[in-house]
Amino acid sequence: MIDFDTKKFHINPNYRLQFEEAQKCHVLLYPEGLVKLSDTAVEILSRCKQAVHKKTLIEDLQKDYPEAETLAADVSDFLEHAASESWLVVVED
């Protein structure tokens, strides 16, 4: 698990995030499998290509989606899920 309060993280470098024309959606590819991503998931994950802090990530998203009230909580939940699936990995400093 990633300690999101102190550590930076980014997308697992062994995974691939890309748009697929045939599927008409973004997919995340990992060993022998894939997930199709929702728009929200893409919005978050595409900002994790470089190492990022949860706090900065939420601030950035909130700037772009000022009307989203539960954004911080939703992003936190998503990050926990993404970490448990190894989509995200911690950056050791």
Partner: protein, 379 residues
């Protein structure tokens, strides 16, 4: 022909069997019995590049480089590089024999994302006995090297009656090596394995013990290693779907360019096998007789046709139906609703007779290839 909604099916997976050549001789090999004598007929690098481009167009995202031993082809690393540039997620399925630290580095630079290494036993002797080559130390060293280079690694242990008791040793070994993912894959009885079935099929008791051992290991070692146990279907009451559904998810291209819905489909008689040298992959996926023949459920005969479970297993595996009953349209005899289910019961009974005098294992080599192909033609 069923052409209504073929555009809905996207082949997520391209299995590229680069060559049937392999330094090992596993007696359960899934390659055809009639191995080609030489490698002249193999697709060229340019052919493979075209095939990969066409597969990407259809929406394929995962590619598995397999064989035989894919690294026997000198252009394997180049093909990985091209596949990676085209947007594929590249998996390499290897025996590890041709690997060196340098080769692993090259694969990584080319963009390999996952390497699967197979073991034939959990110790030097068993591994050598079933692979036909003394390769254990090298496999261990290469497994470590892949992990050190931070490439996701899967270990694959092929289980059968003569090594299934080693499950716990396998798992300990995998954990000590630092593997993330382990597949304990029971032999499935096709191709070479079918001919060695009496010598390889475990008893139900052995299977239960092996599954229990796997569960015990999982309970005691709550680490990061993910271990899955794949049982042989002979002890099931329902068959498994053919590769996630015939013509729905997988495309296999053989070394000579034949395009198949699953690795073993070539055994089915009376169908023409499309080849990438004559047609595009898209054409084959959407319009070939082979891919349309068993798509969906409309081809079914009884008891599948009126079975309430038909969407769940799609009548099982067509190759297995053909191999065991002689009719590719029959219900997979694994299903206990099949009128021919006794074939499976007899196979299980016959494998339980431990007869040391009986035919020894047929290892996968040229001599046995000739012998077994001749036997098949005669039958």
């Amino acid at each position: 022909m069923l052409e209504d909604n073929n555009n809905d099916y996207i082949p997520m997976w391209l299995l590229a069997e680069l060559t049937y050549a392999c330094p090992l001789q596993c007696p359960y090999c899934s390659n055809p019995l009639s191995l080609p004598a030489g490698r002249k007929e193999e697709l060229t690098k340019e052919d493979w590049i075209r095939v990969m481009k066409e597969a990407r167009k259809l929406g394929a995202v995962q590619i598995g480089f397999s064989g035989g031993e894919p690294l026997v082809r000198k252009d394997c690393v180049d093909l990985i590089g091209t596949a990676n540039d085209l947007g594929f997620y590249c998996n390499l399925i290897t025996s590890a024999l041709p690997l060196t630290e340098k080769k692993i580095e090259e694969c990584k630079e080319a963009g390999i994302k996952h390497i699967q290494i197979s073991f034939q036993g959990s110790d030097k002797e068993t591994n050598a006995k079933f692979g036909g080559t003394d390769s254990f130390e090298h496999k261990l060293a290469m497994t470590k090297a892949v992990i050190d280079k931070e490439i996701p690694l899967g270990l694959n242990f092929v289980l059968h009656r003569q090594n299934i008791h080693q499950v716990t040793d396998f798992l300990m070994m995998a954990e000590n090596l630092g593997a993330e993912f382990v597949e304990l894959a029971n032999t499935q009885y096709y191709a070479w394995a079918l001919h060695n079935r009496d010598k390889l099929l475990p008893s139900q008791q052995q299977l239960i013990e092996a599954e229990n051992a796997t569960n015990r290991f999982r309970d005691q070692h709550k680490g990061n290693m993910n271990a899955i146990f794949v049982a042989p279907d002979y002890y099931e009451r329902r068959p498994k779907k053919c590769s996630a559904g015939w013509g729905t998810t997988f495309i296999t291209v053989t070394p000579e360019g034949d395009v198949l819905p699953c690795q073993s489909a070539k055994i089915i008689d009376g169908i023409e096998f499309p080849n990438v040298k004559d047609n595009s992959l898209g054409e084959i996926w959407q319009r070939s007789d082979l891919f349309n023949r068993f798509r969906g459920t409309s081809w079914m005969t009884e008891p599948c046709r009126s079975c309430p479970e038909k969407e769940q297993d799609l009548g099982g595996c067509r190759c297995q139906a053909f191999m065991l009953t002689g009719d590719a349209y029959a219900t997979d005899p694994i299903c206990d609703k099949s009128p021919q289910h006794d074939i499976i019961e007899k196979a299980i009974a016959s494998a339980q007779v431990d007869d040391e005098e009986a035919q020894p294992l047929y290892f996968r080599n040229t001599k046995n290839s000739k012998k077994l192909s001749a036997m098949e033609e005669g039958s």
